[in-house]
Symmetry: C2
Subunit: 331 residues, 2 copies
């Protein structure tokens, strides 16, 4: 059996969920892929742990067991991982620590799976070039709407088709807030609820102003549609300006508001937008309630394909491990 | 550039659509996969054509150009294909000509893509063993609900997850007939319309009695869920017994009837059924109108994932060429 050492950087709620799921699936990896998968290293922002034979299951190590300073370059250098999964905090300005982890993993021939979006938005092209130069994979299903198939739907299930348009509900927070507002909750209260549910970022403006959707649109366009757009190229609208009168009008008209990320490939590159739209009740998007996401892809030969799913921290972890599974399948 | 010779057996409407789409995508294959793809041979039930350098586009050959007798074993032997796409008629009793074509291709190390279901229902296990023994692929997206991702959705997009239940609207005819009946059309008239639209088989009982859905359920269970069931293991219900009174009752209750194929994996193998079910209007399946198909997959870690798409002969051809694309990607 081939040995696969997995390291996780960023060991908060998502990192721990990934660790738990990975350890829970060890027998499956052996059976389905002939792979002896070990979680050999984890680190947070200040301390890390390296166990050459693998950490015990099912939940991974406690914080107390970690060694101060085993982070950053040293962590990647010393831990001999075959695959790095980054679940650290996101930083759109500089790529943050995640950018350093991904770069040093890829340049050492370590496959990398990113869950947070910051480093990918900061320099996807650079990271992809580094992966290609070192013959390893860079994957990020967890960053592009989690359990919702997006990049893989275009690349795999629609392989061969020309994509004419991508349209999606990619941000849980805005979808939750809009759903609550349609149920009569005031905007600030709906935002507070989303924060209490751990859905919204601490600074909710990132979601509410459409930046989160714009990030996903950017990643999907660049990764699956050969675009080369920056976050600022996305025309963007948020949901902060919505008034109770808007809500009443939509109810009266029998339509449902959604914050939509859209990509339209054209002769001169893609046009990417984040827009507030309304859908009639018989449109599949109208059914995409709070805590759900959806994508609709219009193609030349397969018509429109729609996918809808729920979203949760476990689903995000499972999306990262879907990437891992694809790496196992390819080797 | 690597040369890829493609042969098509069964050259009716679907076979010709596949040929046209393949020829239309030649430049794309070269650009994306470094593959020099040629359509080098086609045959119907009585005659065939072999053009070692490739048939000209965009629609493939006319019937008159075909040579009588260039069919069957001789066709596979003489045409040096790397990939066979079978789009011939389906025969659930014996596998028919398709079974012979698939067996002789696979045993000669030729990748095979099946569009009709007969041979797969007759002996999927035998065909898969033959493919594995010869190190080639056997794929059949076109046989399991066309543009709707089914097997690939489970194997690729949900990789790593345990499937708890699969539920789907897999047959266009029954979905069309049920939709029309809810709009006030009598059952025999709705069936006649489906036949006029080229949707229903010449003998509509195959669709109406649930056999078509049962076939798809059998293939999905065996291909994606490691089951080993026969068509007759599927508990089956059709839609022929539906009365105007049923329709009135469903309308009054605000629900929508659908013929559902379902697979539930359990400790002692899978349970597969075809059942008439009703869904409330806010369920995604309620929106799946005439000429559409849908699947809902319940998983342990990613929750429920739903996919919905339209169905057409072009989409079926595109599904077969998705299989071809996956073969190109793997080499």
């Amino acid at each position: 059996m081939q040995r696969w050492n997995v390291a996780i950087t960023g060991f908060g709620a998502i990192g721990r969920t990934v660790a738990g799921l990975l350890l829970q699936r060890q027998a499956r990896y052996a059976q389905c892929h002939g792979a002896d998968v070990r979680l050999t290293a984890v680190c947070g922002s200040r301390a890390g742990l390296y166990a050459p034979d693998g950490l015990p299951g099912p939940h991974g190590p406690e914080r107390e067991a970690m060694r101060a300073g085993l982070t950053g370059e040293e962590f990647i250098e010393r831990t001999n991982a075959h695959v790095l999964i980054d679940a650290g905090p996101t930083d759109y300005e500089t790529g943050g620590a995640a950018y350093g982890y991904l770069r040093s993993a890829l340049s050492r021939g370590v496959h990398a799976i990113a869950i947070s979006k910051g480093a990918l938005i900061f320099d996807l092209a650079g990271l992809r070039a580094l992966a290609a130069a070192n013959g390893v994979a860079l994957k990020f299903s967890g960053a592009t709407a989690a359990a919702l198939p997006t990049v893989d739907l275009i690349e795999h299930n629609l392989a061969g088709c020309r994509v004419l348009k991508v349209e999606g509900i990619f941000t849980a927070t805005t979808n939750y807030v809009l759903s609550q507002m349609m149920d009569g909750v005031a905007l600030p209260d709906a935002v507070a609820q989303a924060q209490q549910l751990g859905m919204a970022e601490p600074d909710p403006r990132f979601d509410m102003d459409g930046w989160d959707t714009a990030c996903k649109v950017t990643l999907i366009a660049n990764a699956a549609l050969n675009a080369n757009i920056a976050l600022n190229d996305v025309e963007r609208q948020g949901i902060n300006q919505i008034t109770p009168r808007d809500i009443d009008g939509w109810k009266a008209a029998g339509v449902v508001p959604k914050l939509i990320g859209e990509i339209v490939p054209g002769e001169h590159g893609v046009r990417a937008t984040v827009t507030l739209r309304t859908y009639p009740r018989e449109h599949p998007f109208a059914l995409v309630g709070a805590k759900m996401k959806a994508i609709s892809i219009q193609t030349d030969a397969m018509g429109d394909v729609v996918a809808i799913c729920r979203t949760s921290p476990l689903a995000t972890a499972a999306a990262a491990l879907k990437d891992f599974e694809h790496i196992l399948m390819k080797r």
